[in-house]
């Protein structure tokens, strides 16, 4: 396993490099720059700023300097948040997004897995139709419909939670549920499909023939194998969750990472664009690796490639 992880990590290096390069050039090709404000800066000041950050140099030179800094683990200073380095800004926000994303993920799994498992017990009965229908509705509701509705019900009418903010532990509930609901639906559908597939497998019959209790057959032999597609789905999904969601964060006023993804693009904050993209790609690679390891742990017939 150690060799497998090492191999995967080495493979990730060129991927991340290409991702960083793509982000670097895409950001530069969009019109406008980080110092274009609504009230234009005096040309002399702007030239001074560009020179300070090296933006007046040819693009190739800027790129090589960027690569050199990256090799030393530096993402450079943000163009918009003066006096901050991009890595400091990201590190500052990660705990918030991590907490929110983890909460959403736990909620999605806690709702999605039982729902899908229940739906698979008796296909095409109302016990199946109801959860499956709920999951399909869940896929169709964008977070910016669910969020306001939850606020309307639980904060305006019932007064259980604050409508927005990130101060007390209870503030965590509504955003995490809003974010998690969007992922509970696909998890439920995947779970249902996988469970139906697993039920027709020979090892389920063997387990029954051995005289195991239905609960043991269902949970140990069935559930464990049906979780495989869910794990595959959760890998990349969790990367998105941890990197934050702009919609949920701005709706509930949560100081998370997601806002950087949007603001960096709006501000043409070049270093921030590359930083957020690299962060996302690195998390994605790491979580896909983790998912593969979990898959092998769940199903010993799989081998590390």
């Amino acid at each position: 396993m150690f060799r497998f992880v090492l191999k995967r990590l080495l493979e990730a290096v060129p991927v991340l490099l290409v991702v960083a390069t793509l982000a670097f050039f895409l950001a530069r090709f969009a019109p406008g720059g980080p110092f274009d404000e609504e009230r234009a800066l005096p040309p002399a000041v702007k030239a001074q700023m560009d020179a300070h950050y090296g933006l007046d140099k040819p693009l190739a030179e800027q790129y090589f300097r960027f690569l050199k800094n990256l090799a030393q683990g530096e993402l450079g200073p943000s163009y918009k948040y003066h006096g901050w380095d991009v890595d400091e800004l990201i590190a500052d926000r990660v705990p918030t997004s991590l907490a929110l994303g983890a909460g959403a993920l736990v909620f999605a799994l806690a709702v999605g897995i039982p729902l899908g498992a229940v739906a698979s017990v008796k296909p095409n009965s109302w016990l199946d139709r109801l959860p499956t229908g709920m999951a399909t509705v869940g896929i169709c509701l964008p977070t910016f419909v669910v969020g306001p509705l939850l606020v309307l019900i639980f904060s305006t009418w019932l007064g259980w939670f604050n409508a927005s903010g990130w101060n007390s532990p209870s503030d965590f509930v509504l955003p995490a549920v809003t974010l998690g609901l969007a992922y509970a639906a696909p998890v439920a559908r995947l779970m249902r499909g996988a469970m139906l597939e697993v039920r027709s497998q020979d090892y389920m019959k063997t387990a029954k023939a051995k005289g195991l209790s239905p609960a043991r057959i269902y949970f140990v032999h069935g559930l464990r194998n049906a979780l495989l597609p869910v794990v595959t789905y959760i890998g990349p999904t969790a990367a998105g969750l941890i990197s934050g969601s702009f919609v949920v964060e701005s709706m509930f006023n949560v100081p998370g990472l997601g806002q950087f993804f949007v603001k960096a693009a709006f501000n043409r904050d070049f270093t921030m664009i590359v930083g957020t993209v690299l962060f996302y790609a690195a998390v994605l690679v790491a979580l896909n690796l983790l998912a593969e390891i979990v898959l092998v742990k769940l199903n010993p017939r799989l081998k590390y490639e």
């Binding site: 991927v15 969009a30 399909t136 509705v137 169709c140 306001p148 309307l152 664009i273």
Partner: protein, 293 residues
């Protein structure tokens, strides 16, 4: 059980039923999918004919009225500027559905082309091309939608293209795998042996066999694409007022939902209802055309 009997009957009579016909029959048996398909079609027609059907022009304001709940004059109420919600929903639906169709067409064109090429070429070129897809998967799409939208300004059709241009990855993967499989089949090998040109093999042998999968996956892409348009509108980068889209109406409704809940509920219901129907329709198609069944 019912299905088994039917297959048996076909075999007895000896009539050759084409796979397409069998799939279509299977699809028609799925009542909810047929209903969903009809609903989508109805939505397309109603929104497409907004010019004739909408009771008011989409930009007509009645400031004296302001935001009012449903009434006989305005079935679904009016928004804060006194504009008829029903009319705006019909016109907004035009935009949302247009995005869904155009962006999906773009993503199909890129995805099918790329996937077929990679699958056909095989070997090193295939792995390089698919590695490229893996890398693109690792890019956070939010940021790229914004960059592309900013790049293209608020030119609507370019935004459709931009959305399509970033949602072809899964399509490419599916088509590539399918092409790899088809390449090993006898009829393709026969075509190669007979010296048919690559282009003809692709057009006459591969494409028709891929079509089922592509159509099925495309119907499932439409809702995703429409969600993306809604997200762009949420950021304020989508359609320009006074024109509207469902996504924009939801966003505006969400801002004032404490006082005027119907401004969120009606657009939300239209949007979610159409997406729901599209998903059911797509699922039905997938089940009917699934070669494994």
């Amino acid at each position: 059980m019912k299905k088994d009997l039917k297959t048996a009957k076909v075999c007895e009579s000896g009539a050759a039923v084409s796979p397409l016909r069998r799939s279509l029959e299977r699809f028609c048996e799925n009542r909810s999918a047929v209903c969903a398909g009809t609903f989508v079609l109805l939505m397309l027609v109603v929104c497409g004919a907004a010019d004739f059907l909408a009771p008011y022009p989409f930009e007509a304001q009645d400031l004296n009225l302001g935001a009012a709940g449903p009434s006989r004059e305005h079935w679904l109420g009016t928004d804060t500027l006194g504009r008829d919600v029903l009319s705006r929903l019909l016109y907004g639906g035009q935009i949302s559905l247009k995005v869904g169709l155009i962006a999906t067409a773009v993503s199909c064109a890129i995805g099918v082309g790329f996937g077929m090429l990679a699958g056909w070429l095989g070997g090193v070129r295939d792995s390089v091309m698919m590695r490229f897809v893996d890398i693109l998967y690792a890019l956070p799409f939010t940021l790229f939608v914004i960059l592309l939208t900013v790049l293209f300004g608020q030119e609507m059709w370019l935004i459709y293209v931009a959305i399509g241009a970033i949602s072809w990855l899964t399509m490419a993967r599916i088509v590539r795998n399918q092409t790899r499989e088809l390449r090993t089949q006898a009829f393709v090998e026969a075509a190669i042996c007979m010296g048919q040109s690559t282009r003809k093999i692709m057009a006459r042998h591969l494409l028709p066999n891929l079509l089922g999968t592509v159509i099925v996956y495309a119907t499932l892409t439409v809702p995703g694409v429409m969600l993306m348009e809604a997200f762009i509108s949420f950021l304020g980068l989508g359609v320009k007022p006074p024109m509207t889209s469902w996504g924009l109406m939801i966003k505006e409704g969400a801002d004032v939902m404490q006082d005027y809940p119907w401004l969120l509920l009606f657009p939300g219901a239209f949007f979610a209802g159409t997406l729901f129907a599209l998903n059911l329709f797509g699922d039905g198609l997938r089940d009917a055309f699934d070669p494994k069944k």
